[in-house]
Symmetry: C2
Subunit: 429 residues, 2 copies
Amino acid sequence: MSEPLKIAIAGLGTVGTGTVKLIQDNLNVLAQRTGREMSIVAVSARSRKNRDFDMSDMTYYDNAVDMAENCDADVMMELIGGSEGIAKEVVEVSIAKGRHVITANKALLAHHGTELAKLAEESGVALAYEAAVAGGIPVIKGLREGLAANSFDLVYGILNGTCNFILTNMRETGRDFEEVLFEAQELGYAEADPSFDVDGVDAAHKLSLLSSVSFGTEVDFDAVYIEGIRNISALDIVNAEELGYRIKLLGIARKTEHGIDQRVHPCMVAKDQPIASVEGVLNAVVCNGNHVGTTMFEGAGAGGGPTASAVVADLVDIARGTILPTFGVPAKALEKPIAQPVEKREGSYYLRLQVEDRPGVIADISNILKDEDISVKSLIQHESNPGKSVPLVITTQATVETAMGRSLEKISQLDCVLEKPNMIRIVSL
Amino acid sequence: MSEPLKIAIAGLGTVGTGTVKLIQDNLNVLAQRTGREMSIVAVSARSRKNRDFDMSDMTYYDNAVDMAENCDADVMMELIGGSEGIAKEVVEVSIAKGRHVITANKALLAHHGTELAKLAEESGVALAYEAAVAGGIPVIKGLREGLAANSFDLVYGILNGTCNFILTNMRETGRDFEEVLFEAQELGYAEADPSFDVDGVDAAHKLSLLSSVSFGTEVDFDAVYIEGIRNISALDIVNAEELGYRIKLLGIARKTEHGIDQRVHPCMVAKDQPIASVEGVLNAVVCNGNHVGTTMFEGAGAGGGPTASAVVADLVDIARGTILPTFGVPAKALEKPIAQPVEKREGSYYLRLQVEDRPGVIADISNILKDEDISVKSLIQHESNPGKSVPLVITTQATVETAMGRSLEKISQLDCVLEKPNMIRIVSL
């Protein structure tokens, strides 16, 4: 056996602690699988409190950047989080010092992935991030290695377990968003400040990385269109069921003739699509390869165990000597992505309106849609309550997003429309 | 860039031809992704007929073993098939000559995997077989690398697309096995002699490899219990729906306290299990890791494109220098598997009987079950037709397989039981 592989861990939260334990509990198995002994030589955390693992062989650092600079580890695990500040510095310093880096930090890579990948390649070290996308599911490996013979035109997924839990629970219990969010917070599935999750930012971070590794383009987080799930009502979910759909927050990256379309928003997905049955906190990623066809990876997208599993999978690769370009091709060869202009985005739409129940309302709305060349696919008004407020649901045939936006603007201004309309995109995948 | 990687291909059927084209069409992309040029230097096939690809730079061999012996390739692709004979010789000779081997041959590895893995490791070459299990789905990579931080106690899957197509089609159309098999043959989804597929042998080959890579044990194909789908009737499928199940041919490998249980047979699976919605020719593999939890891989399990995708993924690994132990740990370290004795197998059962509709029948059957300590969970007799033959469906609580076998034997001998009973295992996963 060669020299033991020396590991430093920056950040001892749930994932950091889970990773330490996974490594300590499996030293023999890992050595057998990789042909190399491993040892955690240094750790750093915000406080030096007693931990429930044996730290006696590790050097403790108060300052993670200090550790990155001065410890003697071959591999740095950055498990601090955040797109700027200490996490970024730890990664940069570690790379400069010739250490391999493993990170679970999607925010950091979404904002600085291309430049960090270039630095890592110049230093001849790995910048590995399996844990940053879809937690324990080995999807970066799947795309970059297992399906390396393919070109992709589409990759999409359920990338945020919190949102998927909330949407699943809303459907199962008929309750509204706020109530279910509260329960998710109680259960520990949602943060006290849930905005990163429920507003779609976390999913967008992950999508930008999937997009890069699938299409061989630089990470382009700023081009991701982002919309969260706060506007989804219990009624939307009932309507979706009736129309044959499930509502899912999807991240979708598509290569079109006009450029790359990256978007995170609630989607109505046909119930018989495999992704429609991915429920609860589970994540899933689906990709379309030109040779392999459609392939789906499904599993746990978050949590200490699954994330540590992915972090240690990267460690196993490094111990085995598998050091690959961060995004599948050398960072310098990544293409500059051209974002598809919003005017070129096409799709069908679901509209839920709250209207006054009187003759002429449907004519007014239909005329607005007609003027934008939008064909109605279905129109459902279940309740009848003359003179009062009733829900009206419209689905459209495929149209361009900008035409839909203009129509919605005009529809909102009609006297008979009593509340802000809700629009959900119907996606065919 | 280093020296070009030289490839020889033995076998130019659908997969071989698809692989040649995939490589020829993607030389630049593959070079970019691996940092290495590639070139197909030799091919061998049963006949030297004109091929629809450019063979001018390749040496043609009539005899694949001769090619394995004498060509100057670094990598041999064995795409001939069959557990003995030429395929085996090509692999053995190639390994002895120090060539890496990529094979799609599950039969060969199911029967000789351990010994070939040892030979490959002694020669310091790869024996790669992503295409042998679940076609294009990168599940060997997923288990051996992406989830390498985990121990597994369960791996199962839909491993034969022909059977899954037939079962899906039977459910959708209400037709019987023979009729749908005929259609599958017309469509090219089933062979003229379909026995390897429909009798479960092909799935068992694949399961024995999954089992080995999941549990770190020697390949033990002989220990796989195998039962195919010929006895599934249209009525069973209707009954399954009514009871809340789908019928799937699953390969299941489980580590129990009594040893490893490997089995391929039709299963009733709860409809809300993700694997229950894997339909048509698709394959899927599910594994339970102790850290990651349940992870599912789903996609195309057969066909030229998907299989070539997996073959070339192995090629990409070799070009990148990723040479791993065939079954995840060094072949010499693979444990000798102990098969779980059949007396220890537990589960619930579905029984479909054709009985005479008269008083006392249910009492007779119930007494037999009582004597074997088997509790009835449900009993359904929809039709009433006094004195005539009617179907009777019974499901049981969990019991041991041998008790069920004895009961079935006795039930078959009752005068009131007019046809051979059909038993399907209800699995909880």
